[in-house]
Every structure is written in C-alpha cells, then in structure tokens.
Amino acid sequence: MSGYLYQNDLSSMKLAILASTRHDRMVREIASELGIPQIRLRKRMMDRFDMLLLENLPARYEQGMREREQAPRPGRELGAGIYTRAVPLILEDDMDAIAGKVRLMIAEGRPHEEAVEAGRAMIRELITR
C-alpha cells in the first residue's frame, strides 16, 4: 500500500462539499429511495469518490434521472444506470448480478414490486456493508 507524502485528511472538506443545498437534496432522495440512513450514504460517498466527482454529483444525478426514463425494466426501477454510472456507488458487475436475480424472480412468478423491493434490499446491503 503506497501512501502519499503530503496526504491530508480530506474528510472535513469532502463533508463541506456534500453540505451544499443541491447535494443535500440529492443525498436525501437517494437515501429515501434505497432506505438507508443518510449518514451511511454520505460516508460511503466520501470514502469512494474523489472531490471532483463529489462536486459534480448533482449534475450527474440529474442527467442520470433523465436517462432513467428510457432504461429497460427492471433496471429502471432499480436505478441501474444511476447507481453504477451517474453516481457510482456500486460496481457495474454487482448491479448486473442483482438485475439478473430480480429478472429471475419475476420469471418465477413473484409480483413485480416485490421482486424490485428484494433487489433494492440487495443494493442496500452492498452499500451499507
């Protein structure tokens, strides 16, 4: 593990970025959709994203929301595009696996909403793990 010579602790500055109005609104929306505590989501974002991506999150999120309308089901309900590309909270492979499981559940005859809810639970588990 290589460390940097002049590495500072950036978490307070990252938190300052996430405290702006639009970031706050975005974090609330994602947290309420996935059903995870906001503080866990912020922590996950601060750990995984660099500062530039953090600054750009609201613009990417809005762009992702616009593209979500055209996405195929059940990826649309799960927010596959948003959580892997626009706001890359989880890896694309993991999301593909989850979407595959949800598709399988629907094929097995589970009601659509229930299957999507199960998929969300899997995303939630990945993020809060």
């Binding site: 002049y6 500072n8 307070s12 500055m13 300052a16």
Partner: protein, 151 residues
C-alpha cells in the same frame, strides 16, 4: 563594501525570480499577475522572471484568502525558497480576507499569520502596473547588501 558584495548587488538587481501561489482567491488577481507577462507590460525588461518554481524563486507572490487546504503547505513552500527572499501579498484577500471574511466562511486570513509578508498591494484586483512596481520597490530593500545586513 567588498567587491564580491558589489557584484552580488548588481546581479541581484537585474534578476528577480518570482513564484506565485494562489491560496484561495477568485482568480482575478491570478490573471492580473499573468497579464504582467504580456508584451504590453513586459516584466522581463525589468529583469523579473516568472518561473513558478519555489526552489529558484526570490520573491513569492501570495494571492488569495487563506483556505484550509493550505494550512501547512504555504509554510512548506516558503521554506523551500532559498535566502534572500521576500513575500508580497497581492490583492485585498491575503491582507484582510476582503469580502470573503464573513460569518460561516472557511478562510483564515490574513496570510501574514502564516508566513512573513514584506509588502502588500491592495486592490480587488490591483492593476498589473501596481504589481510590477511593488516587486521592483521591494526587491532592492531586501536584496541589496543582504550579507552585510545579516552579519
């Protein structure tokens, strides 16, 4: 005054290397320092060279209100500059924080709290001519007979 000192004085008066560091400005002063490079103001005719490398600089231009990211770094840059050296604060921000020094701000002015400042050029932003004249008037005060004064 020895002959060596006379030679040093002469050489130093004709080659002033400048490094600028932006510690959180709005960019306005930054660009005015850059405008000094333009053929209209032509700072090289006065023997001033902008290198932006602290290790070969004589004068450090400090621009901007002091942001938390620079907490220890500004001092590190200042220590890298070889003696004799001087720092000039460009614009209102490093002097007082200007209009950013209000409640809920993140900045920590003035820059003089963190490194010794030899001269201040107020203005929001100052004109390029003012910046050049500040550098030219500070340089002889610091560099002339530096070894004699140190002794």
């Amino acid at each position: 005054m020895t002959l060596l000192q006379a030679v040093k004085n002469f050489v130093r008066s004709k080659s002033i290397h400048v490094c600028y560091v932006d510690v959180g400005s709005c960019n306005g002063c930054d660009i005015e320092v850059l405008a000094c490079l333009s053929p209209r103001y032509d700072i090289e005719q006065y023997g001033i060279y902008v290198h932006n490398n602290p290790r070969e600089a004589d004068i450090l231009l400090v621009i901007g209100a002091f942001t938390p990211g620079w907490e220890d770094k500004l001092r590190m840059i200042w220590e890298k500059i070889p003696d004799p050296k001087a720092a000039i604060a460009i614009g209102n921000c490093p002097i007082s924080g200007c209009l950013f020094d209000r409640p809920h701000t993140l900045i920590d002015p003035p820059a003089a709290k963190h490194i010794p400042i030899a001269a201040q050029v107020p203005g929001c932003p100052p004109r390029p001519t003012e910046i050049i004249s500040a550098v030219l008037s500070v340089a002889p005060l610091v560099f002339r007979d530096y070894e004699v004064a140190k002794r």
